[in-house]
Symmetry: C2
Subunit: 514 residues, 2 copies
């Protein structure tokens, strides 16, 4: 197979079996759409027709679900999800083969999928993030076809643009009415926003709601409307609340993490962003929350009112909204009970779909309006490229999620990382797997100094003026290697186990079997 | 031209110049969709790009708007609308010709459109209702091509199914942010729901928001999202509040109207519908409100809680929601200030698009869930067909709006009419213009008796048991003719000035020039 080289210098085959023709990554903003939106078949539902189905099996037969179809799922029930396993068990029971699973993120709870992969029930996977035994099994090569790893915005784009064609979307619905209006804010498995399921509901050929909480028509608010739902199946339980939402998320107590967080806040301040209208995204981890905490103190001190917080929402953001530090929360996913309650009660807490959040191919997604985003990294390189897909051992242990999307959209993108991860340097010449391109990353904050992307001379001047401890990325790399030595190169074979799509649908990298 | 005859016995040409091939009406539930959804071109909006345009003229040039395009508009600003006239004035100034206007309803304020029609700027019109000088001019034959008259649900269907292809949607937006999130609940021209603009925003090739109230990003709630809006133009005023919403809508004091209203409520009661979960639609006119008032008294007496009120919303419905008589309002259009305020404040007051309200071609619209609807008629015939398009003189003075949609969806469809309209019988052998087919109409209530559609023997038995004054439609017709005589037949020529599409896209009738 002839190889091509993309804009990050990654060698790729021209064609990947099980994926198709490779369009090489060509720069974060270079690829323009040249297609029309996915156009599913138009439906008709006569007055009096009933959408309630007795069982998943009945729905499989009515549609009918056949070999080779793509079944999609959202991940809002996270590690408490019962629906994916339930649906795939029916598929296995009915003897279906060669199904492709399009699940926005894969969690440890989805371990039974490995058996279905081994049995040939599931032979394809399309996801934005994966962890647990499915990720491990795929890294070992359980799937003949490579898994397709997308970003949260890229998945929405792929669905809307017809590149990820969904035959049947199974939508876990914490609350539903009998005509298919769905939301996530109440019911025993309440999860908050259903944002990642919006594109599936809009563009799948068939939409099946799976619920354990059927209420009187009409349900309000409507996250997914009746006009797109074909069937409703009631089951005993769609998910385990313990695994769906955490009680509260805590700010880190690790002194190194706190130092990095404080420096991060100072970077945001030095960039001149702590002013009225400030908009912000950060993760739900303890270190990210710590950064939010320092930013909040600065906002309070300066008396500024921010515009919005975006992305995955935690109780900490809910508190900032309630205290008037920000005017809005834009919520594509809630992480804790406080986020679920706030979405239900506060009209300034907006629920949006993955397309609104982060798709690069529409009339403007919310990440485009971000001032600052704070992101993590498992590897970082001197060209500012980030790896959040593979660990230092080359095994898949994550995925972009909204990483590349927010990085591309925000005015200032900050990656935070300890210089060492375990006993290995985080910073290197070339990340093993490129996930987020360096041109969209502005600043690296470590406990030993701050590196600014050479493209951002404007920002570098501001941070220098503010007295931040600036270093070249190459210096930071040398510092890390001085402590931990130069890591051995990972040996991989030729077999591609994952294709990493950048948010615009070009291929930024592939993962080869270790 | 060979003629064909549709299921109501109406003779139609096989092909109508300016419309296309005629698909004859074949029964209200007989036509199934056989197409995919309209698939507009996918867009990209880079971070930092600005959507604000200095003027409509600039937007016309940037898109660019060219001869022969279809420009769409919603009618939520009713007789206070400034936007249609503003946009067409720019089109005229730029020398554009042969534009088609797709405006969900035409009001007297749109009179300047007649000049644009005479000048050849506008040569096509697609609407659901029209009144004022545009309707009069079209009846006189100002347009070479026939106007296409649709239902509210049918317009949504035609847009979603690609039969009404919109090049540019101009959306009058009472409030907008700088990235194109729009709603109708605040601003000087607040009109409430923007439901009729939803399909336009979703499927037009270009979407231009026109606003006089630009607020900080992000606007909540979002009726039309940023992901679909290309440009935002700020103008001095999008509409005159006096013409947009009425202060309050009053119940009729006419004793005949009150009698009909009371009988109507008794029909609903006798049909066994006054029980928990009752759902209801009625118009905003004084007689319809009176029917709602009698229904309300029955509900209060029986202590029942209704499910929802649907359609155009008035202060009277708002009051019933506030008092707990209904659990929800499903609002595609607000008629008065109370409706606007309630939509802004009450989470049980839902805003929905025209597709959710009434499109026959999706996975189930809200009219399908209606128990009872009360509708008007300008003519009614012994086969229960209704005319709401032409007056007794054959001149266009209305349109279906949601008439045919609600009639098709509701369990019990009641048409109310005085036996005489002016000095002419309302009931006749054949309505001049068939708008809503008799198979979807169950009961006619007049001041001289109640006629039940012979198809509904079940209903007839119930109404008889309740002691309602039942009469055959033929008897009522005879009664009317005894008072007023047999009206002269209207003389029309061959020229077709309007094509009346049933909600499913088949042709139920045409209007010929008087």
């Amino acid at each position: 197979m002839r190889q091509i080289v993309n804009a990050l210098g990654r060698a790729l085959p021209e064609y990947i079996e099980g994926y198709g023709i490779v369009r090489p990554f060509n720069g974060a903003f270079a690829t323009l759409p040249a297609m029309t939106r996915q156009a599913p078949k138009v439906k008709r539902m006569q007055p009096g027709e009933c959408k309630l189905a007795d069982s998943l099996e009945m729905v499989f037969k009515r549609i009918p679900v056949t070999d080779g179809m793509t079944l999609s799922f959202h991940h809002h029930l996270r590690n408490g999800d019962h629906v994916v396993n339930m649906v795939l068990a029916v598929a296995a029971k009915l003897g279906l083969k060669n199904l492709k699973v399009a699940l926005s993120s894969v969690f440890p709870v989805h371990a039974p999928m490995v058996d279905h992969m081994q049995a040939g029930v599931v032979t394809g996977l399309d996801t934005n993030y994966m962890s647990g035994s499915v990720a491990a099994a795929i890294s070992r090569g359980v799937l003949a076809q490579p898994v397709i790893l997308r970003t949260h915005g890229g998945r929405a784009r792929a669905i809307e643009c017809g590149q990820l064609k969904i035959d049947v979307a199974f939508i876990a619905a914490p609350t539903a009415d009998d005509y298919g209006n769905l939301n996530g804010i109440s019911g025993p498995a309440a999860c908050g926003s259903l944002g990642y399921a919006y594109p599936d509901a809009e563009y799948a050929d068939w939409v099946v709601a799976v619920t354990d909480h059927l209420v009187e028509y009409p349900l309000t608010p409507v996250s997914i409307p009746q006009t797109r739902v074909d069937y409703i199946v009631t089951v005993e339980s769609i998910g385990d609340p313990q695994g769906i939402v955490s009680g509260t998320t805590q700010i880190t107590r690790d002194p190194v993490g706190l130092k990095i967080a404080e420096t991060t806040a100072k970077v945001i301040q030095a960039a001149g962003l702590i002013k009225d209208g400030f908009s912000f995204q950060t993760g739900a981890g303890g270190a990210s929350l710590a950064a939010a905490h320092y930013v909040r103190q600065m906002m309070e001190k300066a008396g500024v009112t921010g515009s919005f917080v975006l992305g995955g929402i935690t109780g900490y953001m809910v508190e900032m909204l309630a205290k008037g530090l920000f005017r809005r929360l834009i919520d594509v996913q809630g992480f804790d009970l406080a986020a679920v309650r706030s979405l239900a009660e506060n009209p300034n807490h907006m629920e949006v779909g993955a397309d609104f959040y982060a798709s690069p191919f529409n009339n403007g997604c919310a990440v485009n309006k971000l001032d600052a985003v704070v992101l993590g990294a498992t590897e970082f390189d001197i060209d500012f490229n980030v790896n959040v897909v593979t660990g230092s051992d080359g095994v898949i242990m994550g995925g972009s999620g909204g990483h590349s999307d927010a990085a591309a959209g925000a005015k200032v993108t900050i990656v935070v990382a300890n210089l060492l991860r375990g006993r290995l340097p985080v910073i290197m010449d070339k990340v093993l797997t490129a996930t987020t391109p360096g041109e969209t990353v502005d600043v690296l904050v470590t406990e030993r100094g701050v590196a600014v992307n050479p493209r951002r001379t404007d920002l570098k001047e501001k941070l220098a003026a503010a007295g931040l401890p600036l270093r070249d990325a190459i210096e930071l790399k040398a510092l890390a290697e001085k402590i931990a030595g130069v890591p051995n190169k990972i040996a991989t074979d030729e077999r591609i186990i994952a294709v990493i799509e950048y948010r615009d649908g070009t291929i930024i990298d592939v993962v080869r079997k270790v």
